[in-house]
Amino acid sequence: MSSSDSKRRTGAEIMWEVLEREGVGVVFGYPGGAIMPAYDAMLKYSIRHVLVRHEQGAAHMADGYARASGKVGVALATSGPGATNLVTGIATAMLDSVPMVCVTGQVSSKLIGSDAFQETDITGVTLPITKHNYLVTRVQDIAPMMREAFYVARSGRPGPVLVDITKDAQQASMDFVWDDTPVRLPGYRPEHHARPEDVKRAAEMIDRAERPIAFCGHGVIAAGGADLLRELIEKSEIPVASTLLGLGGFPASHPLSLGMMGMHGEAWVNRAIQESDLILALGMRFDDRVTGRLETYATRARKIHCELDPAEINKNVRVDLPLVGDVAETLRALLPAVSKNARPAWLARIHELKGDSAVRDIQSLPHSGRLFAAHVMHDLWRITEGRALVVTDVGQHQMWEAQYYKHDFPRKLITSGGLGTMGFALPAGIGAKLARPEEEVWVIVGDGGFQMTAAELSTCAQEGIKVHVAVINNGYLGMVRQWQQFFYEGRYAATPMRGPDFVKLAEAHGLTGIRVTERGQIRDAVAAARASKETVVIDFRVEQEDSVYPMVPAGADLGDMIRRPSPIVETAADD
């Protein structure tokens, strides 16, 4: 606030002052009737506002911003449809534990409950998909409740918080004094600490184990525990498997890195899990995509679960020893307690499990010129030297990215894991780019998901935001098509999809579009995209009916995988 020395503030001004004091640099939003006072006041403040094309985009941008920076992302929307359009983005952030504050306008307090124009009970709607939410009807409550919102969003297991502020509360004014005493919430206990005796026991279990395996989940990255994890792993020589959201929490190029586990994890990873005698699960929640059938899941392994949220303990998998607390703090305690170890027999066994997998792999096939999505991922990884910040959407390309783009650094892969939200990638990529402008951001998205939020290209153009968009275009809703092929006898119900000309679509936004149809064109296209000053869309026309291998069918035993056929169809086509 620069224009006035008076401490008299409107609710709208107070809202912006809280945002400033919370260190918010950018807000993603869309104006409308009930939030107009806030937008009018915005002009007096220096916080950057990014005008989105749909509020879902605002929520995903705030999400991408938060995941890339570790700070709280902020989305702003009006009441009614503006607020409900945020819902998918809020649910996405909830399932992936992303700190986010959504501020929505609400009809004036006197009109609440009257079905007024653009009135929706958004605190009711978002109750099950927020960590907490607030309906603010009085100007004096705006600052305390927004401060609480930020505190709740980022503390403990992070999550989205929604603050719904009535129009009259935004308009009313008061003598405003900033209260910077710590937020006091008597019932809120975000902190937990693993008990020293349990840490000691865990260390003994790790030392005694013959075939241990560690799981790197999102919590390792969120807690900033990647370096500590590496120290522990190297000291005790434990192979590491990652969840989708844990990729990058442990370097993929490390000799003890196994790669991703679960439904589309590598076969040897899942086999190793099934043969292990100890699982050290860190900051993950044994999602059904990770475990497969619970009855046959890692039955020989004792399980140590390091997790911040006590409600996750024994939810899906019964564990022998829970270590409830911040993962980084737990790792720090474990590190001196664990003995230096070497496990040559176990590592040799894992090497044996790898077997011919690499030979079967698409990336090892002779160069035929034809374009497979795996080629795009592999070549992108090579060209960017594994250093790009990659944001993926949901579906086949997401799994291929996870398999072929090797992430060595935390916070370099952003993807919608828990909710599996199509349309996530482009807006989340925009948010990530604004959080870390120095990064080369690649948005990797299928032709289906891209069409859900492609309007945000317009946001890129207006705001001068440069991301690279790689559309993995196979003309199908590929993952569903794959399931239809495997489990529904090839009946392709509503999965063939005709999209627009993505090159022209980019051009229509005043941006550049490039089409790639052969593997040999990838390098030049990437170079052109990198050279461009603005967002570039590359339309990769990939093999239409390729499938993601290996695959554990939903609900099947983790070791029971559908493997890539060998030799692949390509040999026939090469003739």
Binding site: G70, K71, T123, G124, L127, P128, K131, H132, L135, Y151, V152, R154, S155, P182, V183, R184, L185, P186, G187, Y188, R189, P190, E191, D309, P310, A311, I313, N314, K315, R318
Partner: protein, 184 residues
């Protein structure tokens, strides 16, 4: 997984609009069926107390407790299975009883220490306080006479202890957030 049994939770919550909704929404979302839920004021201003009865196995019960704690407005939770507890419910039972059968019905009420609080020519109303089993017992013996209507409050529970529940957790001493969180 162990067998599902009835669990009775006591929850202290902030007396704010929407808190009951948050609690019930949580239990619905996590797929637990509420057997009974009562809510009322406590000895402390601004604090309400809930008694929640639901069916869960032991792991499920622990997760309910953990999930309730995750609600920002929930101050304190106790699973009464872990302490000696008094559990009471109140019921009003309107039972068909004309002049011929009134005496018999009233005698039965007496056996169950139920009070007759209203008598009309065709029916009377019995008020009973006690455990769920005791009320069930009265209802069973009155059923042959014809139960016109019945209302039960759902149970309230209190742990047998000299200390107030709230004191044991230093309720109302607001926690100061950790410094690293504030610095973030």
């Amino acid at each position: 997984m162990s067998k599902a049994t009835l669990h009775t939770f006591i929850a202290y919550v902030e007396d704010l609009p929407g808190v009951l909704n948050r609690v019930t929404s949580l239990l619905r979302r996590r797929n637990y069926n509420i057997i009974s839920l009562t809510v009322g004021r406590t000895e402390r201003p601004g604090v309400s107390r809930m008694t929640i009865v639901l069916e869960a196995d032991d792991d499920g019960a622990r997760r309910i407790e953990a999930n309730l704690y995750k609600l920002v407005n929930v101050l304190w939770v106790e699973n009464t299975a872990e302490a000696a507890t008094m559990v009471r419910e109140l019921a009003l039972v309107k039972v068909r009883a004309d002049a011929n059968r009134r005496g018999e019905v009233m005698r039965l009420c007496d056996v169950f220490r139920a009070r007759v609080v209203d008598v009309g020519p065709e029916a009377l109303v019995a008020e009973i306080t006690g455990t769920v089993d005791k009320i069930d017992g009265l209802v069973d013996v009155l059923r042959p006479f014809g139960i016109v209507e019945m209302v039960r409050t759902g149970v309230v529970a209190m742990v047998r202890s000299a200390e107030a529940t709230a004191d044991r957790v230093a309720l109302g001493t607001r926690s100061t957030p950790p410094k690293d969180v504030r610095a973030a």
